[in-house]
């Protein structure tokens, strides 16, 4: 690995942040932090799209990253509404206590 950033640097950084987000989703029980970890993973994927876009000198990856951002915004809005609703019923945002969703 060189000091100057190349495609590999960006991909490995993105893989690291994706892994951090994945560990967050698996380890944390707080629903809000869980969604923040998902945002982290989406951002890592966006970084990969943009790095490859730069590598290929075209802009299709930018457009895909743009769509990912739109989907992330929609997902955050609905997810937080669900968290709010669950909190009103159970006074908790712990995902381990949201077991009535399975019935």
């Amino acid at each position: 690995m060189s000091w100057e950033p190349t495609l590999a640097h960006y991909l490995i950084l993105s893989a690291a942040i994706f892994s951090i987000g994945m560990i967050g989703v698996m380890v944390r029980r707080n629903a809000i932090i869980l969604f923040m970890s998902i945002e982290l993973m989406l951002n890592a994927v966006n970084l990969t799209f943009i790095a490859f876009s730069r590598y290929r000198i075209d802009m299709d990856g930018h457009i895909f990253a743009f769509f990912v951002m739109a989907v992330a915004a929609a997902e955050a809005a609905v997810a937080l509404a669900i968290v709010l609703h669950v909190f009103r019923h159970k006074r908790s945002v712990n995902v381990d206590e949201m077991q009535q969703l399975q019935y």
């Binding site: 000091w3 950033p5 994945m22 809000i32 982290l40 970084l47 990253a65 992330a72």
Partner: protein, 257 residues
């Protein structure tokens, strides 16, 4: 490439890693959200280094602004007390989660390093420099796609990137080539889909000036693509956002009348 760009890359990369770890390590969701905001700013910096200027701005506006305000608003609204946060005790599944996270990271890292070697990068730089010389001599090079370059073209400076991007667009608009190996084959290859089809090939060639499609990474090429090739997903996104607005309202309402 100079001295500053690598320095900024390492600063942003380290910052992004540290703030990402902070997001999942701290106990209070408020501190998580604040760390995530800083993280999004580091990401925006990385996007600027990759010449994705428009996306860097959108990152700050949409993620740093809209989404994180939503998160902070919910955190403040719920106003979780200490006992509701739950204790963060060590559990066996932590080990499994962290081990699988590390496994994914090393698997991804090893496969990236196996594909992109230092020699490949060096070879790619030389190949790229050769192609750029040809462009400067006025030759119509068929293509400067990065996919033909084994290393990475990401170390181009801004001028080199712009020249390569404009050369591709020019070759493509003049019907000389297929810049991205069949990517634009959906319609007639000789008629660029993003130009008015009524123009003849000659008229089009006369019109082509550098910068006509906009500079790399800026608003213009993205908007041209969004209302042409990507118009269906673009409109579907509008429907998705409408559905999300209505869904969020109905779910969060206390009682649906």
């Amino acid at each position: 490439m100079g001295f500053w760009e690598p320095l900024f890359f390492w600063m942003f990369a380290l910052g992004a890693l540290i703030t990402s770890l902070t997001v999942i390590v701290v106990r209070n969701p408020l501190y998580s959200a604040l760390a995530l905001i800083v993280d999004f700013f580091f990401f925006a910096g990385l996007y600027v280094l990759l010449s994705a200027h428009f996306l860097a701005i959108v990152q700050v506006l949409v993620y740093g602004g809209a989404i994180m305000v939503l998160f902070l608003f919910i955190i403040m609204l719920l106003n979780l007390r200490d006992e509701e946060l739950g204790e963060n005790r060590f559990q066996l599944h932590f080990v499994a989660a962290i081990a699988s996270g590390l496994a994914i990271f090393f698997f991804a890292g090893a496969s990236i390093l196996a594909v992109v070697s230092d020699e490949g990068v060096e070879q790619g730089r030389q190949e790229y420099a050769r192609q750029m010389e040809q462009v400067e001599e006025g030759e119509k090079v068929a293509l400067l796609t990065g996919s033909q370059i084994p290393g990475l073209a990401a170390d181009l400076n801004e001028t080199g990137l712009e020249a390569a991007y404009q050369a591709q667009l020019t070759a493509w608009e003049a019907g000389l080539g297929n810049p991205a190996q069949g990517k634009y084959n959906r319609f007639d290859n000789s008629v660029p889909f993003e130009l008015p089809p009524a123009l003849s090939a000659e008229a089009r060639e006369g019109q082509v000036t550098p910068g006509r499609q906009g500079l790399y990474g800026t608003f213009k090429p993205i908007s041209i693509a969004l209302v042409n090739r990507f118009v269906v997903p673009f409109e579907l996104t509008a429907i998705l956002l409408l559905a999300a607005i209505i869904g969020a309202m109905i779910i969060a309402k206390r009682r649906v009348a």
